[in-house]
Symmetry: C2
Subunit: 605 residues, 2 copies
């Protein structure tokens, strides 16, 4: 028995044969439903109107209001569909487009890519000289360029003969390290490109790079489509660790997205995909493993073991990448279960090893990685700062998309609120930097105390009482209200507390005081948008001179690009990876003591 | 418009949508129609009865008798089918099963395979020791076996983590050279097998080998299914060089056949295909190239250039072999356009380098390769001896299949004939060794003179006159007559003349006389069945003491097996390949002079 499912207002119609979970069906159909918890019935983000609707489950009754249930709202992760059904997907349940911070401060370097094209005029075979094609090419490479090769890509071998003869023995040979990875007719040495990918939990940044000059010629950011399977790393590990099919799904989703991004940058920059000869990819360890199809279950269970922490070079075609078929992808090594190659790339981009003094480098995300450099040592740790700064777990939170409040000012006398939104659109919600601003301002004007409680003494128009809980209203626009709730404040306390704990334990471990810190490098999308002053004000960072903060933008992406272009930086990254000392915070004895203290807000002076 | 083609007596029914060439349609359907010329309308072997039949073409009128045309016989390679058709395939047009000589005199060697299994009990990961899985395995390999590895197969990496955990950290690691190619649960070190393949133009020999002992545990021979696309190397080159699709077809046919052979030997010997860890493959240069999907067109045109003459190691999965997915196939290097790695393997099997004196090693086939060893030099040449010794181009010729005449004796007084057939079946035709016998006997009793003419003075019952041409009747069995025709004698003269020319030119090049030769090693299926005395008698070999001949059986196969089992022999084969001096007979100035002389038969003393 077939039945039809119609998704509105998208206008997508599916014909199904078997009953299935609505969340799975929507995902299969490419409809990006939000799901922070990975379909476990915990976040309530996948709500849709279903008609006809099933009896609401206990979980739905808890996560949806009575009115919503009456209107037909249900959770897609709790709804089984087995007959003709109409589904209305509210915009709030669709994975939005985001403002992606993917550019940054590039580092200067001389390109030294591992792959290079050589133009050759190969002596023609004659009866008195019947040397094989490959031997001819090798000899000419050696004679003209003093390049000695050993291996050859199997595909290159099979096209070599016809190309030599069709192009009148004038060819371009693509050499990577000591392997011939390709042969092309005529002189194509000018067309040498590479692709660097920063595979984040929420975003994917793609850099198209000219390998001859080392310059980026196009940058493109997209959302990581795996978001539909859970917003944070742990839900992905949970989902991907569950079955091999799930892991395959996560892998193929991200591969498809990357291939599309490559296609797009190439089209825009008029570059043939076949002229992309090499790629690099960095990401946290879960992203790295999922991307390679490596098992991730053990990454979510103590002792959080990686499969490997070696740099990998894999043929693009083995991975399914649509670049030059003989080309390679280079993956710098991950450092530990929760410190990935993105951290390594960020440290390369920050040039932390070259800089003097005691330095902190911090990449803020759902997981925040912090490195402390002092006297030749680099110690790194990872803090589960959670997705609050990405707008998740916040009542009116949203990603940094158009309409998100990103700046908040509160007049300390009138308590009137001024907000700025992304693209100056009518406010739809509040994103990470806006929440940070709001909380810092609420602290400053005394609406929040240092324990994080909303001051119940305050009685103005902006105070909202929801049951027993208080909220502070930022914006009222028609029927839409955007407020900061007591729960929101707690979420931010957890997030900033985690980060601060990491910093404090690193300081303690190295015996350094806050005043010994000579600089703080802040990377990551959120890290670029925040106002360090306000981050210090809420106690996310210790009291360090604002002048010592440097915001470098997407350090991981810049590092990936640098590693793409330079063999020397690959070696440096490998050395650095082995040098980094990993500090597991969970095993640290005073952890909870530090954490409890770090969750409090500083007293306003 | 659909139409039906019914093949009888096979009983195969095809439904076709578009008009097509009958030969192609039959091939696609897996019906092995004979075709010596590769569908060029030259050999007339693909004759079938077609109903309804088209008007016979000029070519068909030339190659078929008037009676045959009246009966509806047509050539499948000249027949386009576009309506409901019945096709009768006579047994003589089907590629028969053959008697395959695939065993031989094995050489003694100590196994030293490049791939080995190691059993490990890996220390479990704990919170205070979170080393990645791969690092753990590497350390244990080093500690317990002093084995240092560098790389790891991408697939092995992805199964490593779960296998470690599911098997309680007791695993078997498969190491090849410095790469981990696989991980298995528990102790599986005993199950280490390899496969050696001798890919001939007409036959494929498969050897299943225990890598720990070096012993063959099963041998299986099948016909090369490419025969349907032309019986000799040149027709294959012609067909495969024509389009990329043709090349793909040849490649996939042979791959399918080899995979089936592997499946069969494994089933018979109760070996899991996944326990075959390594393979080797030898063959003539065209077979080598086709097998790899390398272009072959240039192999058929002067200067007959190879794509490569290097040894290749390729992952079985890249080639499509159904053995252990991380395993490799090793292909020893071909020597020249018409001297393949089978010649190299045969020389390894003959242990020619170890032996004293001036030696000839000869592998008789459609192409015959001859090597002459003298004073540390080895000079090899290739002679286009043609398929006559395989029964082709001979009126009643057939392969060495049951019912083929393999021995002939003629009473010199009564001229009565005694024949022996394979498996003592009723005689169906005559195979290579039978033809050699027949001609040698006809010479001895004076029915043939040294120019190769059938004595017209002989008037007995066995003389048949066909038009102007004479035939000598061997067998008359009911209505079936098996005779040697004047054309058959000419074919054999061409074949043996080519071989003898090769030997003579090698002798001249090295300044050796026949008496200087200390031994002749004869390899190959046909070479094993022949009586050297009779081969000398017809002048295929010079007059060398019969005691100096050694028949080693399928030398190429034995060599492939030895190379599979021993890294030392691989190195030896590589050195030998570089040492062999290739002599191109076609460019030799006195070639036609030698050839004309060599075609004559020796005078009977």
């Amino acid at each position: 028995m077939k039945f039809t499912i119609e998704f509105n207002p998208i206008g997508k119609r599916l014909i199904e044969k078997r009953a299935g979970l609505l969340l799975d069906i929507a995902r299969e159909a490419g409809i990006g439903l939000k799901s922070l918890c990975g379909g476990k019935g915990k976040c309530g983000k996948c709500k849709v109107i279903v008609n006809p609707a099933n009896q609401a489950t206990a979980i739905e009754k808890r996560l949806l209001t009575r009115d919503e249930i009456a209107e037909g709202y249900r959770l897609a992760c709790r709804t089984t569909v087995s007959e003709d059904t109409e589904v209305y997907v509210p915009p709030s349940s669709i994975t939005e487009e985001q403002k992606l911070q993917i550019s940054g401060k590039e580092i200067e370097l001389k390109p030294l890519p591992p792959v290079k094209k050589f133009f050759l005029q190969v002596p023609r075979a004659i009866l008195s000289d019947t040397k094989p094609d490959l031997e001819r090419i090798k000899e000419e490479l050696k004679r003209k360029y003093n390049v000695k090769v050993e291996g050859i890509d199997f595909n290159a071998l099979s096209v070599m003969g016809p190309i030599l003869r069709e192009s009148d023995w004038s060819i371009t040979v693509i050499v990577r390290e000591r392997e011939i990875i390709g042969v092309e007719p005529g002189d194509r040495t000018k067309d040498s490109f590479g692709i660097a990918i920063d595979l984040g939990t929420t975003k994917i940044a793609t850099y198209l790079v000219n390998l001859l000059t080392g310059q980026s010629i196009n940058i493109w950011g997209i959302a990581n489509p795996q978001i539909a399977y859970g917003e944070d790393v742990l839900s992905r590990i949970h989902y991907g660790g569950n079955t091999k099919t799930n892991l395959e799904k996560l892998k193929s989703e991200v591969l498809k997205a990357i291939n599309l991004a490559i296609k797009r940058v190439c089209k825009e920059s008029k570059v043939r995909r076949g002229d992309i000869l090499e790629g690099t990819l960095v990401g946290n360890t879960a992203m790295h493993h999922i991307f390679l199809g490596l098992p991730v279950k053990q990454l979510g269970l103590a002792p959080f073991t990686m499969v490997t922490n070696e740099p990998l070079e894999i043929k693009a075609r083995e991975l399914g990448f649509e670049i030059y078929s003989g080309g390679y992808f280079y993956l710098p090594p991950p450092i530990a279960g929760f410190i990935g190659s993105d951290h390594l790339a960020m440290l390369i981009a920050s040039e932390i090893e070259k800089k003097e003094g005691n330095l902190i480098a911090i990449d803020i995300g759902t997981n925040t990685e912090i490195a402390l450099k002092t006297k030749g040592r680099i110690i790194s740790c990872s803090c589960a700062s959670g997705p609050a700064f990405e707008g998740a777990h916040i009542k009116h939170g949203m990603r940094a998309a158009p309409g998100a409040i990103e700046r908040v000012n509160i007049n300390s006398k009138s308590l009137s609120v001024n907000v700025a939104t992304i693209d100056d659109k009518a406010p739809l919600g509040i994103c990470g930097s806006g929440i940070l601003d709001a909380i810092s301002e609420m602290l400053r004007v005394g609406i929040l105390d240092s324990s994080g409680k909303i001051n119940s003494g305050y009685k103005g128009v902006r105070r909202i009482k929801q049951g027993k809980s208080l909220e502070f209203l930022l914006v009222k626009d028609g029927r839409r209200k955007i407020a900061i709730t007591q729960e929101d404040v707690s979420e931010i306390q957890l997030a900033k507390g985690a980060i601060r704990t990491g910093i404090e334990i690193l300081l303690e471990k190295t015996g350094l005081k806050v005043n010994d810190i000579n600089g703080v490098i802040v990377a990551g999308g959120f890290g670029t948008y925040i106002d360090p002053l306000k981050a210090v004000r809420i106690g996310m960072f210790p009291e360090i001179d604002i002048g010592k903060f440097v915001q470098i933008g997407n350090g991981a992406g810049i590092g990936a690009k640098a590693i793409l272009v330079s063999k020397r930086l690959r070696e440096q990254a490998d050395r650095l990876a082995r040098k980094i000392e990993y500090l597991e915070l969970a095993t640290y004895s005073h952890f909870s003591e530090y954490f409890t203290r770090a969750m409090r807000f500083p007293k306003i002076k």
